[in-house]
């Protein structure tokens, strides 16, 4: 009997996992990344427009900045695109793109079509660096302070509400940096 019930038990475990997974789907987007409060990993990645000129995360030390994970394949990235435009206009800090699991030609085409609002883009075509960064899916937006510490992470497309939230948080980081 025990042996016969095993599949049922396994199934119940699976269902429990999926229920928890789904109920926390929204929440997990808010759940603090393990990297939160830690320094951003030191990454050296090619730039999208100038592949030979590598960009490093530590060269941004000294001022707060925004790292936005996107890909041309990502539907939600199109949804949040207008807010990226607003963010780079109004935030007063560099908004750096992190082009994830993409192809150069696709990414460039996408930018030409929708507009390139980012300061520059670091590319991670294979998705290796994204693992170090704890990227869960695109789009994702990291706020990094002037000491290189990840202070906030927003998962999912930026909307009106999260845009306002990000602006407030960026303001705080700017104040900290100027003290």
């Amino acid at each position: 009997m025990i042996r016969l019930l095993t599949p049922l038990v396994v199934f119940i475990g699976l269902i429990a996992l999926l229920i928890v997974g789904m109920q926390s789907a929204e929440e997990r987007k808010r759940v603090d990344s393990p990297l939160l409060g830690r320094p951003i990993p030191n990454l050296e990645l090619p730039r999208l427009h100038e592949p030979d000129n590598k960009a490093r995360t530590d060269e941004r030390l000294g001022e707060p900045w925004v790292l936005n994970v996107w890909g041309s394949w990502c539907q939600s990235c199109r949804v949040e695109h207008p807010y990226i435009l607003k963010l780079s206009e109004n935030a007063g800090v560099p908004v750096v793109g992190f082009n994830w699991k993409d192809e150069r030609a696709d990414a460039l085409r996408w930018l030409r079509q929708f507009g390139d609002a980012w300061a520059y883009h670091m590319v991670d075509f294979e998705g290796r660096a994204a693992i170090d960064l704890g990227v869960y899916g695109a789009p994702e937006t990291f706020l990094i302070d002037h000491r290189g510490i990840i202070r906030h992470k927003h998962i999912g497309p930026i909307d009106e509400q999260s845009y306002a939230d990000l602006m407030v948080r960026i303001g705080t980081l700017r104040d900290e940096a100027s003290q």
């Binding site: 789907a25 929204e26 990344s33």
Partner: protein, 654 residues
């Protein structure tokens, strides 16, 4: 008006399915033939209303009725009529309606082709399928109604996702659903087998052709999806281990195990409980796939608009269907027959090994798909599981499968001797390995993957040919279809393996900047960009590059890749130019305009060797399964059953 009619039809289908789910089942329990007989009429009625609802939605699309919210989001005035017809299943709500229609269709087929089976059994099968129909109809009506109105309606719709405006996409979802839903038949048979109070030994035999057909549809559906991704997404890849691809692959792997374990259970009565479990698992994994795509629990490029409410409903439905089935299994499995024992070296062991490897593969894919979720929930961080994990795992698990597969058909039931099986095959094996080396040398494609791929592939093809030759010689009546089908399918695996090995090891890729008039040489072929022009389609405009491809100065092909811009959504799509070939595909995709003055563009030119063999192999699998399903032994079996002959007494050799 027509939308309201559709709504009414769906509600009527729901009422009929409710009756179907209960009355014939009760009739079978109480042994009341008049109640059991109702099943056939109910199934027909259910199908008619499901079809009417489906046609109502199709009519709304054809008439541009943008007051129907679903039409407004998935169509537009410029969309050609054939895409308006296929747009019915282009979104979540309509694809559910298609699912319902197919389930209704399978039920009619089961009802029509099971006239010779015991009435109580058929009544139970149809009732179980009716329960599944109830679940899907409720799901559609309560959470995802395709007939919801949008008043006032917009003047024009938002257009069908351009990715779906493609012939491959017209057929990919219906075939995939035919497979998913087809496993509902195997599920229904297994549950009916469990429900049958007395020892039912024959349902396995009756369910075999249905399982084979469902598996064949699923195979073609997955292959079409892969083919579509290859030419439409412009990445040149054919499989991405995306969660949603995995969601269709898991039922396929379990289905593969199921069709093999059914053979053992039917012929020898061995591991019956395992076969029941696989039938439950195959359909449950189809439901899980539906859940993963529509609940937002995992991130994927395929996901439909996510909605936790829908996710909860499917989960609840899974709890009822799978949970109920597994509970019934725990209660009833001890009562189903147990078969004869077998030796370590026997056909049973070979098929058991097949089951172990495929079930483990399915578990590994499921694990890899859900692992990021588990890790995240446990608070251990966030990770993504990618192709390296799946690729390594598959090579590990499928290598023994490829090595043993040709031996399986030669081994005997009950007891055998490895040497007896292996000895006649030695020449075939040696020939296959030698031929592999010669071919690789001739193609000059020396790499571990190419060499092992050709060796494994040719071993499978030669082993299948050897099997057919043997059977042809020793049988006076010709090779029966189920053996022909099996050999064809096994050879198809060989073709597939060769395709994968060649594509993964010998693809030639080149990204170049080209101005009109310039020529680039790739692997002995000269690609000349003649001109770049603008062209216009029904709902898009495009830049089109015109290439002439020459070998030794002789023109072999004109190729015209495009970059399309769709009016309504503003989305840009890369239309790849392909020259398909049995041994290599030429693949040209347009990149970016690099210079307006000279009209220079970046172009991606690929030469993909043997990529057609991947889908060719899949097609052989599907044809093989169809051949096996059409074998007359299944039809004879029904007549025998009508005369109540005990199949256990039948000879055990095929």
């Amino acid at each position: 008006m027509i939308a309201e009619l559709g709504q009414v039809f769906l509600s009527l289908a729901l009422i009929l399915s409710l009756v179907l789910a209960t009355v014939p089942l009760y009739g079978a329990h109480q042994n009341k033939p008049e109640l059991m007989r109702m099943a056939h009429t109910l199934v027909i009625g259910h199908f008619v209303f499901a079809l009417a609802a489906y046609l109502a939605l199709t009519a709304a699309f054809l008439n541009h009725d943008f007051t129907v919210a679903y039409v407004a989001t998935n169509s537009n005035l410029l969309l050609p009529w054939f895409y308006r017809v296929s747009a019915v299943w282009g979104g979540h709500e309509g694809s559910l309606l298609l699912w319902i229609l197919m389930l209704a269709g399978w039920m009619v087929l089961v009802s029509v082709f099971s006239k010779n089976l015991p009435r109580a059994f058929v009544a139970r099968v149809l009732s179980v399928m009716g329960m599944i129909a109830v679940g899907f109809l409720l799901f559609t009506l309560l959470t995802s109604n395709p007939f919801d109105r949008l008043l006032p309606g917009p003047l024009d719709g938002q257009d069908l996702n351009p990715l779906l405006q493609d012939p491959g996409m017209i057929f990919h979802p219906p075939l995939l659903y035919m497979g998913y839903v087809g496993f509902a038949v195997a599920f229904g048979f297994a549950i009916a087998g469990l429900l049958g109070g007395r020892v039912e030994s024959q349902w396995v035999k009756w369910s075999r052709p249905w399982t084979l057909m469902a598996w064949a549809f699923l195979t073609v559906g997955i292959a079409l999806g892969s083919w579509w991704a290859y030419y439409e997404l412009g990445w040149g890849g054919w499989w991405f281990w995306d969660p949603v691809e995995n969601a269709s692959f898991i039922p396929w792997l379990i289905g593969t195990a199921l069709i093999h374990s059914q053979a053992v259970t039917e012929k020898r009565g061995a591991f019956p409980a395992w076969t029941v479990l696989l039938a439950i698992a195959a359909f449950s994994m189809s439901l899980l796939g539906t859940f993963l795509v529509r609940s937002g629990v995992l991130t994927s490029v395929h996901a439909f608009a996510n909605d936790p409410e829908r996710g909860m409903f499917i989960l609840g439905f899974m709890v009822v269907v799978t949970g109920g089935a597994l509970l019934l299994y725990a209660l009833r499995a001890p009562r189903i027959m147990t078969g004869k024992g077998f030796d370590f070296m026997s056909k049973e062991t070979m098929l058991l090994l097949n089951n172990v490897f495929f079930a483990v593969s399915a578990a590994m894919v499921l694990l890899g798909t859900l692992y990021p979720l588990v890790i995240d929930l446990m608070g251990w961080g966030q990770i993504s599981v990618g192709p390296p994990y799946f690729g390594a795992m598959f090579i590990l698990l499928m290598t023994p499968v490829v090595m043993l597969m040709p031996l399986g058909p030669f081994s005997r039931w009950g007891q055998d001797n490895l040497w007896r099986v292996m000895f006649p095959m030695l020449a075939t094996l040696a020939g296959a390995l030698l031929a592999a080396l010669v071919i690789v040398a001739w193609l000059d494609a020396w790499s571990w993957r190419a060499v092992t791929g050709w060796m494994g592939g040719l071993w499978l093809i030669a082993g299948s040919a050897h099997f057919l030759f043997d059977r042809h010689r020793s049988s006076r009546f010709g090779v029966p279809r189920h053996q022909l089908g099996m050999a064809l399918a096994h050879a198809g695996v060989g073709v597939f393996v060769i395709g994968v090995a060649m594509v993964e090891s010998a693809t030639y890729e080149r990204d170049v900047r080209l101005e009109p008039g310039q020529t680039v040489e790739v692997a002995g072929l000269a690609f000349t960009l003649d001109e770049v022009v603008s062209v216009k389609g029904p709902n898009w405009i495009a830049e089109e590059a015109r290439f002439s491809v020459r070998r030794d100065g002789a023109l072999i092909e004109k190729m015209t890749p495009q970059k399309r811009r769709y009016h309504q959504s503003g989305q840009t799509m890369t239309q790849v130019a392909l020259r398909p070939g049995l041994f290599q595909d030429l693949y040209v995709a347009m990149g970016e305009q690099m210079d307006e003055q000279t009209n220079a563009w970046s172009m991606r030119i690929h030469i993909k060797p043997f990529i057609r063999w991947i889908w060719g192999g899949a097609l052989m699998l599907a044809i093989g399964a169809t051949l096996a399903a059409s074998d007359k032994r299944y039809r004879l079996a029904r007549k025998q059953q009508a005369a109540a002959v005990d199949v256990n007494a039948a000879p055990s050799r095929p």
